[in-house]
């Protein structure tokens, strides 16, 4: 049950893959607004490694769906330049690991241009990228780096977990006047889910309660949402613990209100992130909750996170580095029985 995407609660919906939800949003926005264009390595002729940009070249031509050489820093720089001169670029960086090559343009240019220009111009750019552990792609292709972008003022940060959210949030991202980091998860592209037939623009800063519950607030995003929902079912059936799963969907802006309301009701909190524990977003949310809901907390905020290790290749080790369902179950039990 979702409570957030209600405003124009659409009647009919169909089942889509997450990647197709994204693709639909791109098609729709490029048709609606000719300032929108897509640019990136391998996005046009091949339609993107995950097929998110499939068909855009055929429909909108090579001027608005642009393949590039391997030059991520300058491609993002070009998107910044286009954005401040009236375009609305959607730039794809194939792996979030490669965004590390673009950090000057993202952090020093895109995130600061509005302020440095005294508000004269903004940078309506969407940087689509993809992270997380997949199937053995190892240390340089498996990172969860939302924590870096989260720390940079001037950026917005979106991490969808369902096809419906993906489509609705990408529409918002493209229409936003500020730079948006749109961070997909490689393990979610083939996730199926209902997506309304009608246009549904999901606003930023509105969390979605993916499961209501009384006993514990569990906050998770991206690929940790389905895993947390699995854990919640197990906790309900095996342990009689009724977990509320909140998906912030946008980490910046963050819907503190929904989180705090839930925490005040349940008095127990677990935050789950795939990213490494140290210095991550989960820690920040924990710091907010302990400050704003101090008197309601029955137990410390529990964080389930990736280990402070680069992701290794071997499958067993790889999986040992990121939260598993059992880890989430154990953390909720610790929190509730504390």
């Amino acid at each position: 049950m979702t409570n957030a995407a209600k405003p124009n609660s659409p009647s009919a919906s169909r089942t889509l893959l997450l990647r197709d939800g994204l693709n639909e949003a791109l098609h729709q926005e490029m048709a609606r607004d000719e300032r929108v264009f897509c640019i990136g390595v391998g996005i046009a002729e091949r339609g993107g490694s995950y097929k998110v940009t499939d068909g855009l070249l055929a429909e909108f031509g090579p001027q608005r769906c642009i393949d590039t050489p391997i030059a991520e820093a300058s491609i993002v720089g070009a998107a910044v330049g286009a954005a401040i001169t009236g375009m609305r670029p959607v730039v794809e960086v194939l792996f979030v690991d490669f965004t590390l090559l673009t950090m000057d343009q993202v952090v020093n240019q895109a995130a600061k241009y509005r302020l440095m220009s005294g508000g004269a111009r903004s940078v309506p750019m969407v940087l689509r990228t993809q992270g997380g552990v997949g199937d053995g792609v190892a240390a340089q292709h498996s990172q969860s780096l939302e924590g870096l972008f989260y720390h940079i003022p001037g950026l917005k940060l979106v991490m969808p977990s369902t096809p419906r959210d993906a489509r609705g949030l990408l529409l918002s991202a493209i229409r936003d006047d500020d730079p948006v980091i749109f961070l997909e998860h490689k393990a979610l592209y083939m996730t199926e889910g209902p997506v309304p037939v009608d246009e549904e623009v999901i606003p930023f800063g509105v969390a979605d309660i993916k499961r209501s519950g009384r006993d514990c607030t569990l906050i998770a995003w991206s690929n940790m949402v389905p895993r947390s929902l699995t854990a919640a079912e197990e906790l309900a059936s095996a342990h009689g613990i009724d977990v509320e799963v909140i998906d912030p969907r946008t980490l910046v802006p963050l819907d503190r209100q929904t989180i705090l309301e839930s925490v005040c009701r349940t008095e127990h909190v677990v935050i789950v992130q795939e990213a490494v524990r140290r210095g991550g977003v989960a820690a920040d949310i924990a710091s907010i909750i302990q400050a704003d809901a101090f008197d309601y907390l029955d137990a410390p905020v529990e964080i389930v996170a990736g280990r402070n290790i680069p992701i290794p290749y071997n499958r067993t080790l790889e999986q040992a580095c990121i939260p598993q369902t059992a880890d989430i179950v154990a953390a909720v039990r610790r929190a509730v029985y504390a």
Binding site: F37, Q63, R64, I66, T68, P69, A71, A73, S74, I75, V76, G77, A78, A79, V80, G81, A82, A83, I84, T85, G86, M87, P89, D104, Q105, N108, Q109, Y113, R114, L115, M116, S117, G118, G119, A120, R121, P153, G154, V252, P253
Partner: protein
């Protein structure tokens, strides 16, 4: 022989040259008096490049500037008053006092902004040129850049993008022969930096950056070719600083013979020679002096930005 049109052009060019010169001198004084903080990289000695290039541009064209950017902004049409207000951190400045010397942008004149990161402006200019191309508009984008930036990754990356997409991009490499104290020959085996462009298949040439007429004509020609769709052009303009790298750098490492060589080829002197009309030149100087004096008063009289409004606007 000089036609009246030529004379008017030269007079216009001289006004800009002199304006930049006096503006930079004024900034240095204001810095010493404590009215300017942070970094200040004067464009002294390099005025002919911005002046000549910007005189060749159309109203819709874009420019991208550098950390040594005052000259680009002024040549592109920025007013002394709002420039000085910005550099002294006032609410009336081009960026409301938030940007300062290294971040002046004035999108109304197509000036996309200075940049504190050497080399970062090149891809930004590529993007502006790309956008114009997508929209099918007849605009070019000039990226001012530097010998130091030529060694930076963005230089090759972004120039290559402009080349394969055939963009209307004019990359002006202001080769003032130093990156702070590092001479070009210590930073590159190839000291004629236009040769870098050739490896990317980009039409590249080198010119005398102190002769404003040569710069103007070369830029005007380049612009025509850009608008004709021939793809990017790189112009290396050789020049020299008449000062240290920034306001507090005495520039002791600059060889005296080079300093003197270029002093003798001062862009203002050369332009006055072309103009060959001292009376007119003097009159221009008097006018510009008055404008700059007024601009100083404007900046001094302007309010500081308000903290509350600022926080309200920018805190997320």
């Amino acid at each position: 022989m000089q036609t009246p049109d030529d004379a008017d052009l030269l007079a216009r060019l001289y006004r800009t040259l002199y304006g930049i010169r006096r503006f930079e001198q004024t900034c240095i004084s204001l810095y010493r008096l404590g009215h300017i903080r942070g970094y200040l990289h004067p464009y002294l000695g390099e005025e002919a490049i911005a002046t000549g290039v910007c005189a060749a541009l159309g109203e819709d064209d874009y420019i991208v500037s550098t950390h040594r950017g005052h000259g680009h902004c002024l040549a592109r049409g920025a007013g002394f008053d709002r420039m000085l207000a910005e550099i002294t951190g006032k609410a009336t400045g081009y960026c409301g006092g938030l940007g300062g010397s290294m971040h002046i942008a004035d999108p109304d004149t197509g000036n996309l902004g200075a940049n504190g990161i050497v080399g970062a402006g090149i891809p930004i200019g590529v993007g502006a040129a790309l956008g114009a191309t997508i929209r099918g508009e007849d605009r070019v984008c000039v990226v001012f850049s530097s010998d130091g930036a030529a060694n930076h990754g963005t230089f090759g990356e972004a120039l290559n993008l402009a080349a394969i997409w055939n963009l209307p991009l004019l990359l002006v490499v202001e080769n003032n022969q130093f990156a702070v104290s590092t001479p070009v020959h210590k930073a590159s085996r190839v000291v004629d930096l236009f040769r870098r462009g050739q490896g990317y298949g980009v039409e590249s040439l080198t010119i005398d950056g102190n002769d404003v007429l040569e710069v103007y004509e070369c830029a005007a020609d380049a612009r025509r070719r850009l608008l004709a769709g021939e793809g990017p052009i790189l112009i290396e303009a050789k020049t020299y600083r008449q000062a240290g790298h920034h306001v507090n750098d005495p520039g002791a490492y600059m060889p005296q013979n080079q300093v003197e060589h270029y002093k003798a080829r001062d862009p203002l002197t050369l332009c006055r020679q072309h103009l060959a009309d001292d009376e007119r030149a003097d009159a221009i100087e008097t006018e510009v002096d008055a404008e700059i004096e007024a601009a100083v008063d404007f900046a001094h009289g302007s309010p500081e930005p308000a903290v509350d409004e600022f926080l309200h606007e920018y805190e997320a």
